[in-house]
């Protein structure tokens, strides 16, 4: 690579070497383009970013070392350049630190001011949670959604940032006292600041569920309890099931409930179990769910009401009249097999 000629005593590189470097640089640029243009699904974002950084550091080094001759030139130059780079990186790190730590600490400050909500509003069981206020220190986030799940009255707040990537990252869930003025509690979470409009709707619905308004009431406590003793092992406390083995009920059970024959199918599924192939949310399950006829009519009704109103199911309900113990009683004693119960399954358009 070294060239004996060189007017200023330079150990310059030959044209051939330069050309080789240029080709490598071009090739790296093409690779960078290719991995982004034909994004391969199996490469995770983390690794891709890592790879891209490695490639660019490679290009950087090639240019600095060979085109700028730093590799063979006086150490003084490299010294200067290194110092410059170090300062640049230092600025980088400092900036990043300043900003991220700033917002993290404000989240912390908020999170460490617990219990306020419970005591302020006179609620009793802030269900082991401690109130976590909505961090005000995230100016770039706006409130996207508030959900509450009828039973535990916890709020899930999605802080919306414009990019969907970040959207998922900022999701805060915190419990509310089970009794007390819902609106007031939510307001105190926002530090008394304006409560977003959407809270109104959820509040009304939430009250209806939690305080047993006529026509909407069911025994939420019994429902949760039954679910947690009977169904949770398979369908999981989140209702997500286990992929491939136990189907999800999340954003799904309500769809069964909505269609004609759905109520009866749900009741039969619990009373007689299920057996056979069924496609749920895009996955085919061919498995067995045990019959739960040992549960009382009240328990079956409550657990199903709980399921169809939890984990985002409620938003999917077109109408809700709780399943009554009488309905369950009416379907008992038919001696159906799991396969026969599955035949009752109405066909769904959605998941």
């Amino acid at each position: 690579m070294s060239d004996p000629r060189g007017n200023h005593g330079h150990r310059g590189s030959s044209v051939a070497a330069y050309t080789a470097i240029a080709l490598i640089l071009g090739a790296i640029t093409f690779v960078e383009f290719a991995v982004i243009q034909w994004r391969l699904d199996w490469i995770s974002t983390g690794w891709l970013v890592f790879g891209l950084v490695v490639l660019s550091v490679g290009k950087f080094w090639l240019v600095v070392a060979f085109f700028m001759h730093l590799k063979d030139d006086e150490n003084t130059y490299s010294g200067f350049f290194t110092i410059g780079m170090v300062f640049a990186l230092g600025t980088f790190v400092a900036l990043g630190f300043l900003f991220t730590v700033g917002s993290v600490s404000s989240v912390w400050a908020k999170a460490n001011a617990p219990q306020e909500i419970a005591s302020e509003t006179g609620g009793h069981g802030a269900a082991g949670g401690g109130g976590h206020g909505i961090p005000k220190g995230i100016p770039e986030a706006t409130l996207a959604n508030i959900e509450s799940d009828g039973y535990s009255r916890s709020l899930t707040v999605l802080l919306d940032t414009p990019r969907p990537k970040d959207h998922e990252a900022i999701q805060i869930s915190f419990p509310l006292p089970e009794t007390g003025d819902f609106q007031l509690q939510v307001a105190s979470l926002f530090g008394g600041a304006g409560v977003p409009d959407m809270v109104e709707d959820t509040t009304t619905a939430d009250r209806a569920f939690a305080q047993g308004e006529p026509g909407l009431s069911f025994d939420t406590e019994l429902g949760l309890e039954t679910f947690n003793t009977t169904c949770v092992a398979c369908h999981q406390s989140t209702g997500q099931g286990l992929p491939g083995a136990f189907p999800p009920l999340v954003e799904h059970a309500a769809n069964l409930y909505n269609v004609e024959g759905g109520r009866d199918y749900l009741i039969s599924a619990v009373l007689y179990g299920l057996q056979g192939p069924v496609e749920i949310a895009g996955t085919t399950y061919n498995s067995v769910m045990a019959p739960w006829s040992s549960l009382s009519d009240e328990q079956v009704a409550a657990v199903l009401n709980y399921v169809v109103t939890s984990w985002g199911n409620r938003e999917l309900l077109t109408e809700f009249t709780p399943i009554s113990p009488d309905e369950v009683a009416a379907l008992r004693g038919q001696g159906l097999s799991g396969a026969q119960a599955l035949e009752l399954r109405p066909s769904l358009e959605g998941p």
């Binding site: 060189g6 330069y18 640089l25 383009f33 950084v53 006086e74 003084t76 410059g84 400092a94 414009p162």
Partner: protein, 201 residues
């Protein structure tokens, strides 16, 4: 005339460092420019993904087009070393050809940038539209100004070579300009990755 004599003396008198002053100064400048761009890129990163309104990076950035312009800039660096190589060998015609090539490729890169900026503007991105707009334009704009200065330096050398005969003895001027040019290129290498590629990773 006396000015040029003085310059000559400055140029060829060894100093305590034993290194040519001009080159030393350029490296010092580059080191400080490093910090400058470090701050700009750092600022871009800090505000990355914090724009509340569009257009967002993913809406406007064009990877194929920018890949081509990045490639053009990389190749200009290649021509730069060829130009220096030719001048050191007193191969004046080649030196002129390659120097012109560098300036030309640099201008092509700038053309791409003008095209890019105007498309972004049409899509509603401006310096004060959102955080992305301000950080992006300041960063890439500053880089564009660096490229422009580089092109002007190269063209001056090219014109000078016709006015006053140049030889391998003058290589130091081209070498220092080359350092500047390569530096501008490596800054773009970083920008291309950080601003463009990573956005779509």
């Amino acid at each position: 005339m006396s000015g040029s004599v003085a310059l000559e003396q400055v140029e060829h008198q060894p100093h305590r460092t034993g290194l040519p002053d001009l080159k030393l100064i350029m490296w010092l400048f580059l080191a400080s420019d490093c910090m400058f761009f470090g701050t700009l890129i750092g600022t871009y990163l800090v505000y990355q993904g914090r724009s509340l309104e569009g257009p967002f990076p993913a809406d406007v950035l064009d990877i194929p087009v920018t890949t081509v312009s990045s490639f053009v800039l990389l190749m200009s660096s290649f021509l730069m070393v060829l130009a220096l190589h030719a001048l050191r060998k007193d191969d004046i015609p080649r030196f002129r050809l390659w120097t012109f090539g560098v300036a030309f490729f640099g201008s092509v890169f700038l053309g791409f940038q003008v095209f890019e900026f105007s498309t972004f503007a049409l899509e509603g991105l401006s310096l004060n539209q959102n955080l992305f707009g301000s950080t992006f334009f300041v960063l890439t704009g500053t880089h564009g100004i660096h490229v422009t200065v580089g092109v002007l330096m190269l063209l001056s050398i090219l014109i000078l070579s016709f006015v006053k005969p140049m030889s391998s003895k003058d290589a130091i001027f081209l070498e220092v300009t080359g350092l500047y040019w390569h530096f501008v290129d490596i800054v773009w290498i970083v920008i291309f990755t950080v601003v463009y590629l990573v956005e779509f990773a």
